[in-house]
Every structure is written in C-alpha cells, then in structure tokens.
C-alpha cells in the first residue's frame, strides 16, 4: 500500500525552539491517530504538513507531494478541522461553508449544493441558517467538520475534534468520524490527547513525546494479536490440562495463585480450551483476553523512550 504520509527526517523549530525533532516514518492506514501529551508536537506536525510552518531540516510528503514544493496541490487534497474555534462570526453556517467550498475551487452552484449536503451530514440541517456565533460548542465543532469535508478531500486532518463536547455530542462526533473512515478513498489523521477517541477511531497510532517519535503502533494488528493471549483461572488439577494444551501447540505459563497464561496457536479457537478442560475434569472459572489497551501502549511509550513496544 502506498504511504499516505511520509516523514523524512522532519525537524521544525518555532521561535528558535525545536518542536519536531527528526521524525522519520511512513504511514499508510485509513485512519491515523496522533497521540501525545500537551506540547508533544501533534498540532505542529499537522500544521507543518499543511505548509503553515516551514521545516528546518528534512521534509514530508502527503500522497507523494512534497510539503515544501507542492503545497498548493497538497492543500487541494486535504481538509482541515482546527482545534480552536475558527469561523466567521457574522455569517450563518450555509454562507460560511459555501465560502470555504468556493475558496477550494468549487463553482458557486456546486458549492451551495455540497454545503447543504455537508451540513445535513454533520447533523446541522435544521440549524444551518443560524448565525455561527449563536452556536453551541458541539455545533461549532460540527460546522468545522462540515467546512473540512465540503470540497471532498482525500485526507482529513482533525485536530482535537471532540474538544469541549458533552458525552452525547462526543459520541456523535466519533460516529461521524467512523462513517467518514468507512468511505472509500478518504483517510483521516486525528490528533488528540484523549486515548479513547483514538482507540475508537484509528487503525494506526503515532505517539509523540517532546517532538520525537515515542512509538508507532498498528492498532489493528495489536487487536488481532491480543486475541491470542489468554489468561485462565481454573479449579482442579492443572497438570494434565497443561499437558493437553501443550500437545495442542499452546505456549503456557503458570502464574501465582494457580492462574494460567497461554498463547493460542493460529487455527485454534477458544472453544477447544473448554473441550480439553471438560475432558481433563478441570473447571475454567475465568477466561480473559489480554487487553493491552492503548493506555498501556501510551504509558509504556511515555516511560520507555526507545520507540519499541
């Protein structure tokens, strides 16, 4: 798969301070999460990819387009939803989003049609003729998403899209991002410090710390591999049960308190464990899949700085 974003020793200084330090990575997922504590460089990375900040050294490519030389072409392929409130206060949502569509090059009629579609899509159909300054925080976030989508970009940069949203609004925003992600031909880069948002919406995660790559993780692969790690709590004699599991090809380890930890080989389903336990007169009282959550990955990355999981 061709990479969507390639970072090639990318370093960025702002006001003489190094913000991004030699980032080197290729990302090709449908939805890419940017994680990191405040000040890690997530927003700066997005701004640099959009051409707002110049790279000190190195470069980056989006869809193979160099951010230094082909900024204009690159910007025609992306949509950007900024973190802070960004709108034109005196306008209503239709006029605002239509203006943004026309600035992206859509003819006025097509811009108007797409504006209505985008505003309905994000759930602002009823409120689309209201002045933007009268909008609630959730509505402002949604109108920002509408303006980022209206011209049909191939890559969407979402900077803290759930900032300041109440739980129902957050859930609606996450659902929207899910829907967009499922659409053919569009990729998402989501920057957030909320692990839950990234975990729910992203396939790949890039964790930044102090402008450096702390870790990169393919969540899809992680989820798949986690399903093979199982923790068991049993009652009865484990000896024969362990032998049977070993015969099946499972790697097993006995933990404190008689707990078992096992890795299922490919092709072996969990149901087989219950069958063996039945045959060996062992009761399985608890069975847990390993849950190496994004939080674990994140904390590990923050503690261990060598970039490996």
């Amino acid at each position: 798969m061709n990479p969507i974003i390639e970072l090639d020793s990318l370093s960025v200084d702002l006001a003489g301070r190094p913000i991004l330090k030699g980032l080197e990575l290729a990302l090709s997922g449908r939805s890419i999460g940017l994680l990191g504590p405040n000040g890690a460089g997530k927003t700066t990375l997005i701004h640099t990819l959009l051409g707002f900040h110049a790279a000190k050294t190195g470069t980056a490519r989006v869809f193979g387009l160099d951010i230094r030389r082909e900024t204009r072409k690159l910007r025609s392929l992306v949509g950007y939803m900024p973190e802070k409130d960004s709108f034109i206060a005196g306008m209503n949502a239709v006029r605002f989003v239509r203006l943004m569509a026309e600035l992206s090059g859509l003819p006025p009629r097509a811009a108007l049609e797409r504006t209505h579609e985008a505003l309905h899509y994000v759930g602002l159909g009823e409120a689309r003729y209201r002045v933007l300054k009268s909008y609630s925080q959730g509505m402002k976030q949604r109108v920002k998403l509408a303006q980022a989508l209206v011209h049909g970009p191939r890559l969407l940069f979402l900077d803290e899209p759930t900032n300041g949203l109440d739980p129902p609004s957050r859930q609606r925003m996450i659902e929207l991002i899910h829907e967009i992600k499922e659409t053919e031909g569009i990729h998402i880069v989501l920057s957030s410090h909320l692990l839950g948002d990234v975990e729910e919406t992203c396939d790949e995660v890039l964790v930044l710390r102090d402008g450096e790559l702390a870790t990169y993780c393919n969540l899809e692969e992680e989820r798949r591999s986690n399903k093979r790690f199982i923790e068991l709590e049993t009652r009865g004699s484990n000896g024969a049960f362990l032998d049977a599991l070993n015969t099946l090809g499972c790697e097993c380890a006995v933990l404190k308190g008689g707990k078992l930890k096992t890795v299922l080989p490919e092709g072996v389903e969990v149901r087989k464990l219950f069958e063996i336990a039945g045959q060996q007169q062992v009761q399985i009282r608890r069975l847990d899949f390993k849950r190496d959550s994004l939080q674990d990955i994140f904390l590990k990355a923050m503690g261990d700085h060598n970039g490996s999981l």
Binding site: F52, R72, R75, D85, S86, I88, G90, E102, P107
Partner: protein, 286 residues
Amino acid sequence: MAVYDRHYRPYDGTLLPERWRFLVIPRYAYKDVFASRIFLGFYLLCFLPPIVGSLMIYLHHNLEALQIMGISSAADLIEIGPRFFEWFTWCQSILLYLVVLIVGPSLISTDLADNALPLYLARPFSRPEYLLGKFTVLGLLGASITLIPLSLMYLLQSSLEGGTWLANNLAILVGITLWPIVWIALTGLMALAFSAWMRWRPVATGLLVAVYLVSWGLSSIVNLLFHTRVGDLLGLPKLVVSILSNIFRGGGEGPHVIFSWIVLLLIALACLLLLRSKVKAYEVIR
C-alpha cells in the same frame, strides 16, 4: 445526491480556475457591505460631486441653458481646466478615504479575531491571494468613486470641447488616472494593515482617522514651531494637496514633491511589511 441521504461522498466535479479564485472574497464582502442602507446611501452620495461637475461641464457648452439661468457667457462660470479637475479629484479622494474608513477596518480584523485564517490558508489559497482578495474589495469600491467618474467627466469635456482641448490637457488625464490608482493603493494598504495589526475594528478605524487628522495637526504644529514647511511631510492631507497641485498644475506649495512621493512610498512599504508579519495562519508566540 439528495440532502436526506446522509452519506459522505467525495467531490468529482469541475473546479474554477485558480487565478480568479481571489474574487470570491470581494463577492462575499460586497453582500455584507451593501446590506447596510446607511453605507449604500453614503456610497450613492459619493457620486454627487461628479454629477455636479458633469452638469457644470455641460452648461459650459450649452448657451441656451446658460441664458435660461440668466448667465450671459460661459466665461462667467468656473473655468474647466486643470484646477477644476484637481478640485474634483481631491474631493473624490476625501470621499474614498471615508469609504475605506467604513469598509476597510473590518476586512482582516474579523478573520483574525475569529481565527478564520487557518481555514482560508488550509485550502489551495495563498496569503497573497487572500490579501489580493481583501484589497480588491476596497480597490473596486475606490475605482468606482474616483477613477471611473473622473474619467467620465474628462471624456465628457473632451467630447464637447474637441480634440485640441484633449491634446492640450493630457496632464489632467494623467492626474485623474494616476492619482486615484496611487490613492486607492495607499489607503487600501493602510486600512488592511491597521485591520491586521489591531484585530479590533473600532481601534483600526480610530487609527485610520488619526493618521489623517492627527498627522495634519502634527504637521501644522511642526511648521508653526520651527517656522518651516518641512512639517508638511508629516501630514497626509498636505502631502495629497502638494502632489495633486504638482500633477495637475506642474507647481505645488510646500515640500518638494519628490519627498512627498517618497513619504507615500514609505507608508505603503511599512503597510506591506505589517501585513506580511501579521497575516499568517498561526502566529508563533515567542
């Protein structure tokens, strides 16, 4: 796709040519500007002097009308010459400044206050295009109340007076075309620069007023205290009068005209530098 069918779809239609995209900004801005009836009334009032001037030109060449008004000869009326056009150019320049004062200060300040610049600049739309679009708002308004009516007055006079008058008064033609362009550029840049600098419309408006009135007062004080005319270089209205009299009549009081032009050029450069530093998607805080 119908609006009720809530699914995202990419856009695969045609796109407008990039070189004319900056015109989207004035199109939207004019809807807001002319939504105000007060402004519309004032804008229409700006055409009153050129209408009066055109009537005066017409009367000069219509003996019957003069007789009806009880004027025996055209010589009793104001002469249609360089001074006549200079006065109308000055008058329209003042009106243009007032129009810029009303429209200009909100052009960039509202975008900066609402953090809208990242949205403009995240698109295939550059900073120069953004500024060109904003400048065009003032440029077209300015041309409509200076360049176009003054040119029409000149054409009317030329057509009634004949080719000889036209050939003998080419300096007027230069004056009514060159000066409005310079004045539109200068006032437009000043308004945009103050709008970007102050980020708050009332302050930017106040600054524009101050540049005209305070500089006038300051130049008078300097002249009075030091018994000189060098102070005229500090006052925008005096610079305008000096340059206009030089363009139309070849003379001019006060500071040497070249210095007046240099001061205007320096003001324009300062405004461009200010715009360059202030109009950015994000300002880096040091």
